[in-house]
């Protein structure tokens, strides 16, 4: 990679921009579920139910935690893919 001067820098800039986009998407879901569905919209959501759980209550005490878990594993998987695309994957 060192023989093509500017190439790695450009690649790295692009790699970082893509990473920022993935982070932004993940954090949007994080905030939408953790703060939105579980707190701000929990009152109205409680009119619906999932099993015997009022829905807002379920998000606040169960669903949000499962969502957080999925977000982290998704990010880890997505970044491994990105690392390979930009040839920065650790051996």
């Amino acid at each position: 990679m060192s023989d093509s001067g500017n190439q790695p820098t450009k690649d790295r800039g692009e790699y970082w921009q893509k990473n920022l986009k993935i982070i932004a998407g993940c954090l949007f879901v994080w905030a939408f579920v953790g703060l939105g569905l579980s707190i701000i919209f929990a009152g109205p959501l409680n009119n619906f139910s999932i099993g015997g759980y009022p829905l807002g209550f379920w998000f606040a005490q169960q669903g949000s935690i499962y969502t957080f878990l999925v977000i982290i594993f998704y990010y880890a998987w997505r970044m491994n893919k990105l690392d390979r695309e930009y040839d920065v994957y650790e051996d």
Partner: protein
């Protein structure tokens, strides 16, 4: 307590201690890299498990289910705050700090902001956060020994400190990691076994997370519906409704503050320095949350089911509340109520002298008036209900064999010791690596630094033990400060260090100090200067809080102050030198060429 029960209890706890000591002998360390970061050789799944034990403290194990039971819906703030922080840690901090590849959090701040002052400010934040936290763990060890095992507090604390001493002083991060893995297994087994049995007893469903949404055993009524209805019949707010507990604003701010605070806790961050690769740090955060979620999704079920069980025991006929024979007679109390009555965590008083226990919300004036006029109730007769009892009394409530009670004690002790050990490592490495090697004696040999690390670890254990025996009265209040400080000082500065290349020394120092000062000032205004209540400037209640913000929820405001001050100061001072900007570039990419 019966003699045979006592022997079983001590045997179970003794066996777990023997296991920890065995690990200590096996995992001795010889280099600073092994002592501080376990030689960066921990498997990411194993590190996830160790992180879960590191993170889940005595408070998570003993107190959280009771806290949620008390708050109902809004208790979700604690569940989400203490788990959602891992998303921030995995996406914004862990991989980059692992790439940086050094030993401590203040070391990153010092190098990134090319300033010893910044490093020292970070050390101060770390010490305040970690020492406060240790006090809580020592109190947890005390509760497990004196309330469950009925062993004198001093004996319990000293034996706990001795075991930690063995594996932390000799094993460093390596010893702590493998012990934490064992402690996680003890803790999660001790938490889920009683939870499964109480779920079967109440809902007929062995998985607590599903049972909480299920129906009462032998009936078509959902547990949560019955719980809501019964609480309303007693003058309380519904368990699942959003208008009980704290206000929406405070729940929102508390959730974010706990999330940011969690992500900024140094003793958790350094766990991600122990894995071999950057991708391991990302994945390991997911495993950590997986192992944490097993307990954190069980806790709300335990809280609701134990509350239901208490109501169901006290009320014989839910459809006829107010009539004499619908309420439990004092002489018919089950054995567990009598036993926990003796510990002082549960207390009854027959205020209207009718020989029966009436438990209701006497603070609800309208309801209390009605109950007095119609039914002759003179005040709630459940006079003491310590929240911790929700977890501690669970095995007896569910009618489990006696060895399970011993297991709960062993689990509580494992939760406390595993967190204490992680904190002690953060404290000792800040002293030996950041202060001694980083500031006062940069030419110290590796052998000398190892010795200093072990000595400061031993000193930190003695300090923690002393504070456990002589707990300062303000321990519970200070924990809120620890989260507030982590949220307001360390997290924003670490994040800016990675995501904003132009952030400079002046901005970072001013920002950390601003976050620190604003948060302390707000908390001290209501809780008293250095927690002396007589020095409080304003009464600590919603009428006096700024915009109704509870001091415990203030961390996120402190974090915003940190960010704002950092940006403004960085704009008007010189940008960081080129080699620092290169450092940031290299931290952002897993494999540098």
């Amino acid at each position: 307590m019966e003699g045979s029960q006592q022997i079983i209890n001590l045997l179970v706890v003794g066996l777990t201690f023997a296991l920890y000591i065995g690990i200590a002998i096996w995992a001795r360390t010889s280099s600073t890299s092994e002592f501080y970061v376990a030689g960066k050789g921990i498997n990411p799944v194993a590190n996830g498990m160790a992180t879960a034990a590191d993170w889940m403290s005595a408070a998570s194990f003993i107190s959280m289910a009771g806290l949620i039971a008390f708050l109902g819906f809004t208790g979700g703030a604690y569940l989400m705050g203490w788990t959602g922080g891992y998303v921030l840690m995995a996406l914004l901090l862990a991989p980059y700090l692992r790439k940086f590849g050094k030993f401590t959090v203040p070391e990153f701040i010092g190098d990134r902001f090319y300033s010893t002052t910044a490093r020292v400010v970070a050390v101060i934040c770390l010490l305040v956060i970690s020492i406060t936290y240790v006090i809580g763990q020592m109190r947890g060890v005390g509760i497990a020994f004196s309330n469950i095992l009925e062993v004198p507090l001093t004996v319990g604390l000293v034996s706990g400190m001795f075991v930690v001493f063995l594996y932390a002083v000799f094993g460093g991060m390596k010893g702590i990691t493998y012990t934490q893995i064992a402690q996680y297994c003890v803790m999660i087994f001790a938490y889920t076994v009683p939870a499964v049995f109480i779920a079967i007893t109440i809902t007929g469903m062995p998985i607590p997370q599903i049972g909480l949404g299920g129906t009462l055993a032998g009936s078509d009524t959902h547990l949560l519906t019955a719980l809501d209805q019964t609480l309303v019949d007693l003058g309380f707010a519904q368990y699942t409704a959003t208008d009980g507990g704290m206000s929406m604003l405070n729940m929102f701010l508390l959730t974010i503050s706990l999330m940011i605070g969690t992500a900024g806790l140094p003793h958790v961050i350094i766990r991600f320095f122990t894995v071999p690769k950057i991708r391991d740090a990302r994945k390991s955060a997911g495993w950590a949350l997986f192992f944490i979620a097993i307990l954190y999704t069980t806790a709300p079920a335990v809280g609701a089911m134990a509350t239901w069980n208490l109501l169901d025991t006290l009320i014989l006929d839910r459809d006829n509340i107010g009539q004499e024979e619908a309420h439990l007679a004092f002489e018919d109390q089950p054995a567990w109520m009598e036993r926990w009555g003796e510990t002082g965590l549960l207390g009854f008083e027959d205020k209207n002298e009718d020989g029966r226990i009436q438990y209701y919300n006497a603070d609800n004036e309208e309801f209390a008036q009605m109950a007095q006029d119609e039914w002759g109730w003179e005040g709630s007769e459940l006079t003491t209900l310590d929240r911790d009892i929700i977890v501690l009394a669970n095995p007896e409530i569910a009618g489990l064999p006696t060895w399970v009670i011993a297991l709960v004690a062993a689990g509580g002790i494992a939760a406390a010791l595993s967190t204490a050990a992680g904190l002690l490592l953060a404290i000792s490495s800040a002293i030996s690596h950041d202060l001694l090697k980083g500031v006062f004696r940069p030419d110290i040999t590796e052998k000398g630094e190892m010795l200093a690390a072990r000595i400061s670890m031993a000193a930190a254990i003695l300090l923690a033990g002393y504070l456990g025996l002589n707990p300062p009265g303000f321990a519970a209040e200070v924990v809120a400060l620890a989260f507030g400080l982590a949220a307001a000082s360390l997290f924003p500065t670490l994040m800016l260090g990675i995501f904003y290349k132009k952030m400079n020394r002046e901005g970072a120092i001013a920002g950390m100090l601003a976050g620190l000062i604003v948060t302390c000032a707000y908390i001290f205004t209501y809780k008293g200067l250095f927690f002396f209540p007589q020095l409080a400037l304003l009464p600590d209640n919603a009428d006096y809080w700024l915009f109704g913000i509870n001091p415990g929820s203030f961390g996120v405001i402190g974090a915003l102050a940190n960010l704002a001050v950092s940006f403004i100061v960085a704009k008007v001072t010189a940008p960081p030198p080129a080699h620092i900007q290169d450092l940031v570039e290299s931290v952002r990419v897993p494999r540098a060429d």
